[in-house]
Subunit: 276 residues, 2 copies
């Protein structure tokens, strides 16, 4: 059984920046000793968390971190409002000393999310939020949603460290035209592999919504993710994340898995590690 999607990047090999906070985060941190508190205290090498949306799958793990410190959380202004204005549960994060810091991630602007002197050199990690369109989760009140700019609902993250770039977009709600150039400029792109076909959930359950209706561009089919990114540079390492358990690419013997790999994509797995 796979755990839910969680990605962590380390700019210096010691500190970690989490990309989203999955519902399984506690288990995932415990399974990897590099995240253990260094000195028996509650301080962990997790220095920041960057959220790409307010979806439960992206934010629920924050509640696992309520006894970690110090905690710095980045998200768009709108996502921060959905979390903190309508969900008192997150106030448990403000109880630690020092208290968690909630920071606005503006769109289309590089922001420093990590800076540390390592053997005389300054290691910096910058992050740029790229709007991917999409909707705010429907748990947020209609009143609040109606006042929020949709561009801030779902973002991709361009992480920049020196010459290295990583693009992270676990949910791709629609057309890739506006942001696919970002993947071409990166060494690696971690992209939405939730569904193979648009009708996948309907075929599986007998009813429900299409992949596109719930904010995920399917991989296959006309105007699917594979087709939309076909002409991007093949020197980019392209990795599929956030793979739903209905997606046939999880079966290595499937034609879907074969098609994905022939198109030059990789299917990620629990515990996968790589260096840029």
């Amino acid at each position: 059984v796979r755990t839910q999607t969680q990605v962590a990047v380390s700019p210096d090999g010691t500190a970690w920046v989490l990309l989203n906070a999955s519902p399984d985060l506690r288990q995932q941190l415990l399974q990897h000793p590099e995240f253990a508190p260094s000195d028996g205290s509650r301080s962990t090498p997790v220095s920041a968390i960057i959220l790409t949306s307010a979806d439960v799958d992206c934010v629920m793990g924050l509640l696992h971190l309520r006894e970690f410190q110090p905690l710095r959380i980045y998200a768009t202004s709108s996502v921060l409002r959905v979390l903190t204005e309508e969900n008192t549960l997150f106030r448990t994060l403000d109880r630690s000393m020092p208290r968690a810091q909630w920071d606005v991630l503006p769109l289309d602007k590089e922001v420093g999310v990590f800076e540390q002197a390592v053997s005389g050199e300054t290691v910096k990690l910058q992050c740029r939020a790229v709007s991917l369109g999409g909707e705010f989760p429907d748990y947020a009140s209609a009143h609040l949603r109606s006042g929020l700019p949709k561009e801030e609902a779902v973002i991709g993250l361009e992480l920049v460290q020196g010459q290295q770039r990583l693009f992270f977009a676990p949910s791709v709600p629609g057309d890739a035209a506006t942001w696919k150039c970002r993947t071409a400029e990166s060494q690696a792109a971690l992209l939405d592999g939730t569904f193979w076909t648009d009708n996948e959930l309907i075929d599986f359950r007998g009813n429900g919504k299409t992949a596109r209706e719930i904010g995920h561009l399917p991989l296959a089919g006309a105007n699917g993710l594979l087709e939309q990114l076909r002409h991007e540079s093949s020197r980019v390492r392209r990795l599929l994340i956030h793979i739903n358990n209905t997606n046939p690419i999880l079966d290595e013997e499937s034609p879907a898995s074969c098609a994905v790999r022939q198109a030059g994509w990789e299917v990620t797995y629990d515990g996968m590690e790589f260096e840029l």
Copy 2:
């Protein structure tokens, strides 16, 4: 590493009633095949969840269940208000078909939480909420908290099936005088084993609050749980749950562990099962 406290009871050997919903619930359900969906769908043998407080450790796991169905959630009226009036995240539970049902558990009254015909006989599980005193969690707004009756903040559960009784109280905020008779009437009592001493967290971290200040009667010391329940019937199986990682009883070689066992208590562990 232990997972966080989670107890499930099965009145008929097939369906399960969860007592609270721990942050680790998804992992815990996946580790035990008896909770697997029966027919490839999302319906699981979990028929109800009963909450003893609005603490994050008791309620966070509800968010793991948002794709399970049908879901029936019992808690005091005040706990339901803390969850649903100030936390839109829980609306994700109302999205399933049929949607989750939130039911009020009144104090001091037996309520049916499960009823099923099993080979010609009706199997019923009743639950009585017993006030344990205590406070609402401080993540809830001061405004809301000021209007809620404190008796509904933290409860114990007396589960009754025919002649069998189980008492469940993972958080015991204070004096046991008013409810300890309940443990004497039960076959088994699962009780708050969070801390050994009142100063345990302060001794460990160098600062902080006492066990009593954060809603847990310590096991040892004057007027501790062991002393308060010393005169209760020894034919009751007494099990300690919700044990913090600072509690010396986790070390079987410790004098604390020895004292607990000599007093006739059991220390629970991950995956422990027993029958009444």
